[in-house]
Amino acid sequence: MWPFVFNLSLMTPSLNGDVLIVKALHIEQLTKVYPKGVQALSGIDLRVEQGDFFALLGPNGAGKSTAIGVVCSLLNKTSGKVRIFGHDLDTEREAAKACIGLAPQEFNFNMFDPVVEILTNQAGYYGIPHAEAAERAEKLLRQLHLWDKRRVQARLLSGGMKRRLMIARALVHHPRLLILDEPTAGVDIEIRHSMWAFLREINQQGVTIILTTHYLEEAENLCRNIAIISQGRIVEQTQVHELLRRLHQEVFVIDTAQALDKMPSIEGFKLDKVADHRMEVSVSREHGLSQLFAGLNAAGVEVVSLRNKQNRLEQLFMDVVNHSRGTGV
């Protein structure tokens, strides 16, 4: 069990006497201009509630990693405010830092150090005495199936193991906010699913999680809220299910029992043959799947399987990003 779930001291009264719960992360007008003049962030505002499982999505170079770098004190901001569980990064830097655990995109541990030392050293930097650090390291390494590798140099681990090591290291000081920058990049499906289960468990125990990923299926599966960043600006921030509700049209791939010699015609649906036993069907929100099945049934087409052609969030993500760029593709 994570050693905290909710902390009343983090609830502050508002002017009218109501109680406002402090945000896990509160970013106001954050800008970042790199020394060579590249503007990576153009005044972003972001609020992440305590206990949330939050996705920060965006195309490459949109500013995700820059935003995370500033929040985690790896980059200097140009202007703006960052508060972590109410602690201002400018004035209460140490208190703010103590709340965060970071698993960055790039491997950033000493490749020559044994796995267990990477964890105990990281705990040491947070002021956790060695004996306690060793206990925590053992627990995390067991949970993430790395205990057998504890004495192995980190460079000898597989890609998936290195990713898990980064997550274990990010959790060793029991952070209240876990930031994962593409945690499952290059990880096989089985391990990815076991990592998802682990992250869900951590989140259920009270840890707020912010995730960036290029696997939108991951964001759809794990996250409740989402922000999309494009060209250094937040172009969308909403609940995942709310975003999905906006999907006007979905394309389904249908496999049929018999060869599609002649394509059936069903009013309200656009059917395209893509192979002898496969067709793609565009379904708009006004027409339900039951109407489609009824039509196929009437045309004597027996459906073997049906799946989305594209991840639904992926479709929306592309719409939002393209709209923000003004490309309208």
């Binding site: 790199y34 020394p35 770098g69 985690c72 004190s73 790896l74 980059l75 200097n76 830097r93 140490e94 208190a95 830092k97 103590a98 965060i100 970071l102 960055p104 790039e106 491997f107 950033n108 541990f109 000493n110 490749m111 030392e117 105990t120 050293n121 990281q122 040491g124 930097y125 947070y126 002021g127 956790i128 005495p129 060695h130 290291r169 000081h173």
Partner: protein, 258 residues
Amino acid sequence: MTFKMTYWVAFRTIVMKEMLRFMRISAQTLLPPAITTVLYFIIFGELIGARIGDMAGFRYVDFIVPGLILMAVISNSYANVVASFYGSKFQHYVEEMLVAPLPNWVILLGFVSGGVARGVMVGIVVTLVALFFSDIQVHSYAVTLAVFVLTSILFSLAGFINAVYANSFDDISVIPTFVLTPLTYLGGVFYSITLLPEFWQNVSLANPVLYMVNAFRYGLLGVSDISLTLAFAIIIGFIALLSAYCMHLLNRGVGIKS
């Protein structure tokens, strides 16, 4: 600046990590200075030194002992910090410290202490080797120990600055090769500056290593070409200057943050 228990744990973690690092590769860190010193003693002390005769009232082999010990301390303190901190930048694991609630002075103190630890250990190894070739009589333990540790601190700080600015492994060898080694060899390790013409004596006085070598020689042998007070003032002055500069670099995030 408030002292917290967490800072102490963090500081100890950095120091232990640093010590483990150079102990694990002792064949590269502790053994070479011992072998080099043996060669110096055989060639300069026994073979050539026997023909040189006395210097400042001591056998030549005894005269060069303080300089050789300090030379090893200087190069190893420097090498430890420059290699370790640059390595942490190169592999990005410096970020492990940057994300943690660690004040910059704890990071600096940790790395410098690691450098001092290696400097002291190498110094002890070289001193043990020296005992086979010379009969060392310590004139002042306090001066010897103080110079030993202060020099180590000074060059650990210098190594840290080099590492902050370094962008490649070449950059961490340029200063030791082109600056540190000439300063050390011309810092009176193998000779007394009184042997030099007056002009070169005055030039030598601009070399900070000269003050350390002579102060250390005073601690061991009781003789020095320069004033002990001036030597300590210069060493401590440089430590203060470099410490302030290191903190400035860390606070600005030079070389480690954009």
